[in-house]
Amino acid sequence: MPVATMQGREIHVDEEGFLTDPSEWDEELAKQLAANIGLELTDRHFEVIRFARQDAAEQGETPTIRRMQAAGGFATKELFQLFPKKPAKKLSYVAGLQKPVGCV
C-alpha cells in the first residue's frame, strides 16, 4: 500500500490514490484532493462530504449516489453538478473514502 506525503504528512492511499484510512483526512486535505482532480470545493461540497463521511463511518461502507439521495437528501442532479460525470467516485476520493462497492 503506497504511503504518500501530502501537506507535510504521511497519507496512506491505494494504487489509484484513494485514501485507505479515513482518519488521515481533514478538510484541508480535501481541498488538495479536489484540486488534484480539478475541483474547487464550496460550502455545499463540504456539506455533501461531511454527510458521506458520517454515513460511511456508521454503515461501514461508502455511500452510493442513491444512498446520498435516499439517506442524505441530496438531489441526484445536484450531486452530478458538484462532482461532474462520476459523482460517486469523485466524492469518495475527495472525502477520503474508498470507492463505493454497491451496485445501486
Partner: protein, 171 residues
C-alpha cells in the same frame, strides 16, 4: 520502495478529458419484475461513470414505463428452473403473488429502489428514456400513459439514429 519513503500521491484517472462519447443503449423488451432490473441497474451504473445512456422500451418493456403497471411488476416462477421450485407447485393460484412478494422483499432489503423511483434516479442522472412507436400503437398508449421522464415515442428509424455508435444491449 520502503513504507516511509516520501512519494507523490497517485491521482485517480477520472477520464474527464476523455469525451470520446461512450454511449450505452439498453433495449428493455420484457415486462416482468426480474427482467426490469438488469436494464435499470446497468443504466444507473453507466450514468455514474459519465456514460451517455438511452433506454428504449419496447413490447413488454412498456410495463416498466406504463404508469398503470410500473409499480406492480410481477415475478413468475413457473417454468423458471433457476428457482429450483417444482412447476406443479408454482402453477398453483397465488404463487405468482407470493414469489413476487418474496423478490420485492429481497430487492428492498438491498436498499434498491422500486421501479418508479429507479426511473426517477436514472432520469435525474441524465439518462434518456424512449418508448417504441409500434408498441405504443399496438397497446393504444400515448405519452400521457407513460412515465413523465419518457422523452418521446419514437420509430425504429429514430432509434437507429440515436443508437449510432453506441454499445447496445438487448434485454
Amino acid at each position: 520502495m520502503t513504507a516511509t519513503e516520501p512519494m507523490t500521491a497517485p491521482v485517480p484517472s477520472f477520464d474527464d478529458e476523455d469525451d470520446g462519447g461512450r454511449k450505452l443503449v439498453l433495449i428493455c423488451s420484457k415486462g416482468s419484475l426480474d427482467m426490469a432490473y438488469p436494464g435499470l441497474v446497468l443504466a444507473n451504473a453507466a450514468l455514474g461513470e459519465g456514460i451517455e445512456v438511452h433506454i428504449f422500451f419496447t413490447f413488454w418493456g412498456f410495463e416498466i414505463i406504463n404508469k398503470k403497471t410500473m409499480s406492480d411488476l410481477k415475478f413468475v416462477a413457473l417454468g423458471n428452473p433457476a428457482t429450483h421450485m417444482p412447476n406443479a407447485m408454482m402453477g398453483l393460484p397465488g404463487m405468482t403473488a407470493l414469489s413476487t412478494k418474496m423478490m420485492r422483499k429481497q430487492i428492498a432489503d438491498l436498499d434498491i429502489p422500486e421501479v418508479p423511483e429507479f426511473l426517477d434516479l436514472i432520469h435525474e442522472s441524465g439518462g434518456h428514456l424512449w418508448a417504441c412507436r409500434m408498441s405504443a400503437d399496438m397497446m393504444k398508449l400515448t405519452e400521457d400513459d407513460l412515465y413523465e421522464g419518457v422523452e418521446g415515442i419514437i420509430s425504429a428509424t429514430d432509434f437507429m439514429e440515436l443508437s449510432e455508435g453506441a454499445q447496445t444491449i438487448f434485454i
